[in-house]
Amino acid sequence: MMNFRRCIFREAEFHPMMRQRGIKKALSWLGGLAIVAASCGVAAGQNAGSEPPAGPRILVPNPRSDAEPVSGGGPAPDVAPGPGHPRQPTIRSTAFADYGWLPLKYAPNAAKMVTFDASSPPLAWTAPPQGTVSVVLTMTDLETSSGGNPQDQLLWAVVNLPPSTRLLAESTTRGRTAMLPAAAFQLSFLTNGYIGPMPGANLHAHHYLFELYTLDKLLEVPRDVTLDQLKAAMKGHQTGQRGVLVVKCCVNSR
């Protein structure tokens, strides 16, 4: 948006200049304008999100994951709008079915705590409703131990995603990563990334919820925000119903 405003400004100051100075200078300005306009086109393509092939493909720098665009330009991922769309964005994963079982690949800690670098499942969703400024994704465990901290059910949150983002590639790297758009950050109750199902889920199936909240503002929350703080910050700022994706793990997971 910022880039776009700057473009309009440049264009406005171009016209009087052409009248006052020689044609050569005007031509050199024209060249400059063309470059600025081109970059504006790219920025506009990124903002639009749903514009099919205009934007550049942003490649994931992480060699472990498939090179997929994670946000911004390029075509939106192919998610068929489900019931309730567009008031409620439809969120899906290519790795598991809604009301299905989460593959064990995305639950390395289900039997025993072995890694802080768990591989997150690929997720994609449809365009958020009009007026959406930011998108928050959360993954919660409905069956965390009541003896523990109730905030511990937050297994993943990605906060302040731009509305143009329509997918998170598999294995979104922990921390501040190029796989996430600039303003976004991620965390779990334990780490700064996806942690996945915790020990115990291998013996008794747990229900896990992926929830996609569309908001009318960017959240000002700390990078170690708790689930309750996050919910409190989002309260009253939803632009529609949240998208919900439900999975179980891990007794019948493969």
Binding site: G84, T144, V246
Partner: protein, 203 residues
């Protein structure tokens, strides 16, 4: 020469980390030994659409909503097992994904392990466990989901059974928030969860 001469601070830190990790392991092992509270129903499958006989959608002739309207929907039979020790009461709640209270059965005695199908509205019925009361957001009993069968909206219904160390001191028209607040600090173990989508795909 004492062995302490060879122990460097870095090694000590590593040792502490190892002890910490093994303690986490021990805690997990304890979780594994105690079976988890399980919520189920003979007629409703977890993660499967709720049968139409339990819904307003399937039992009401029109889609017109008016307060106090009666319909033929009945609650499904519910049962649970692996109750944690020290449990003296249960609360069963059915909410949708926008937190509407579809059904709450409060102050179920701790020795009860199931609820019958078709508990009538009101708290006088012998089908309701002694001392318990039930309500929905709009009635004093089961109301049932009213989501449409055509792909109009995607509604997910969450069943949650909370094992408690005591009965709650809440009024019979307590809201979901009031019930949740009253339960705070009184859970004797994990809540049990069951999820049923409705009503697209229900039969």
């Amino acid at each position: 020469m004492g062995t302490h001469m060879f122990i460097k601070p870095g090694f000590l830190r590593l040792l502490l980390l190892a002890i910490g990790l093994s303690m986490i392991g021990a805690a997990n092992a304890q979780d594994m030994r105690t079976p988890q509270l399980t919520l189920s129903s003979p007629t409703v499958a977890d993660m499967e659409p709720l049968p139409l006989k339990y819904t307003q959608t399937g039992t009401r002739p029109s889609v017109v909503v008016s307060p106090g309207m009666t319909n033929g929907a009945v609650n499904p039979p519910i049962e649970w097992s692996n109750v944690p020790p020290g449990t003296n009461a249960f609360v069963l709640m059915l909410t949708d994904h926008v937190d509407t209270l579809m059904w709450a059965v409060v102050n179920i005695p701790g020795d009860i392990r199931s609820l019958m199908e078709g508990i009538p509205n009101g708290n006088e019925s012998s089908k309701l466990p002694a001392g318990a009361f039930h309500r929905s957001f709009r009635s004093n009993g089961w109301i049932g989901p009213a989501a449409r069968q055509s792909p109009e909206g995607r509604w997910t219904y969450y069943w949650k059974l909370y094992p408690l160390d005591k009965k709650l001191n809440v009024s019979e028209d307590a809201s979901r928030d009031e019930i949740l607040a009253a339960m705070e600090g009184h859970l004797t173990g994990n809540k049990a969860v069951m999820i049923t989508p409705c009503c697209d795909g229900s039969k």
